[in-house]
Symmetry: C2
């Protein structure tokens, strides 16, 4: 999870313990607990210069360290996102990632290098889980900015992106390299085609969306740890 505000409701829900200094001098933070006999670790990007780290570089760093030091059976990239009214999305909706995770702001060209720059890293097939838990499904698309330029939008539309965030692509890149199964869980804070300024909408809805994210993650953890323990 990226920001402290996104992770806090879930950390409190399970009473996870902050393992200070686990990642050494790196800002990345670890919260850990045992749930139904299994280890649950929440990794956040931590803070730098007094504010939360966000974005692809901090997410790549955290995911690389988490995989190398915690050896997870599965990664759940849980966070908030923007979505499209035109796709029927509403504020507070929670989605599981459907299909590969893409980038929408790495424009290199149309050759193999350009196709690689789109990412489209595989995710775990969450169709059954989404049906069982009554969660929506959508394709995650990642960029390094909170706004959405016309160039971003054109690529998102062309590739079928539905959930615009700032970390999933980076987490998916590292997870794919290490062949670690990944599910993205994204809670909608703002509607890209809703007409409001993203930063205002994001700030107003962050707390509500983070609570919705906690509730969905709680269901997912119950599903993976207790109801379907043989999945991993």
């Amino acid at each position: 999870m990226a920001m402290q505000a996104e992770a806090k409701p879930l950390i409190e829900r399970y009473g996870l313990q902050n393992i200070e200094g686990f990642f050494g001098e790196v800002p990345t933070e670890l919260y850990r607990g045992i749930i139904a006999g299994k280890e649950l670790c929440i990794v956040t990007l931590g803070r730098q210069h007094g504010v939360d780290l966000v974005g692809c570089e901090a997410a790549t760093l955290a995911t690389t360290l988490a995989i190398n030091m915690l050896h997870p059976d599965m990664i759940i990239n849980a966070g908030t996102c923007g979505a499209f009214k035109a796709n029927g999305s509403e504020i507070g909706d929670v989605y599981l990632s459907e299909g590969p995770v893409m980038f929408h702001d790495r424009r290199i060209g149309d050759d193999p290098l350009g196709i690689q720059s789109l990412g489209n890293y595989p995710t775990y097939d969450a169709h059954q889980m989404a049906a069982d838990l009554r969660l929506k499904l959508g394709k995650c698309t990642t960029g390094s900015s909170l706004d959405c330029l016309d160039e971003d939008l054109a690529i998102i539309k062309r590739e079928g992106g539905m959930l615009k965030d700032m970390e999933a692509g980076a987490v998916a890149f590292v997870a794919s390299v290490y062949k670690t199964p990944l599910i993205c869980v994204k809670s909608v804070t703002d509607l890209i085609d809703g007409g409001e300024k993203t930063i205002d909408e994001f700030r107003r809805n962050l707390s509500m969306a983070s609570n919705a994210l906690r509730d969905a993650c709680t269901k997912i953890i119950q599903y993976l740890f207790v109801d379907q323990p043989t999945l991993f």
Copy 2:
């Protein structure tokens, strides 16, 4: 270094050995040798799906692994870049990084989160080295695309960016977190304000710029390893 084509002239210059599998299942590659009694490691981003990896996520992964597994005294991020005719830059010019390394495509806002998103991670003060080796100096600015949108250009101009690349910001983020001294060395493949399509100019000049990069890096290695061995 990012691409094989950028690194090859320097690897051949020193006869460095490819240490296969050093980074395990990760595409990141290591080339190693002993120069004047000191270890020289070239780390490249490696290949995925048959093409070279480029960009900030692969650079973050490689830098994180390189620091944790090789414990370098100094990182030199050597590569190619775009530059501006208006600043007097010419194809094949080689620059050292001056001042902090920024990002030009992480737009979040004007608050502390937005300021953090610009990066501006510190680099080693290379003024003396640039004077001694007769290399130019310029501020590096990084983004995830080969093109340069008006939004990118506005941020580059406002922040004084001169050398536009696709990895330096990511390397500088990780280096700053681990407090590892960093110098960026950038060889100009294309002129952003030159009127030509970047991808064509980049392809045509990549080999020439990579040879110029090799010559500059050879001078820098001689300087750090032999002439000024007490600097690190």
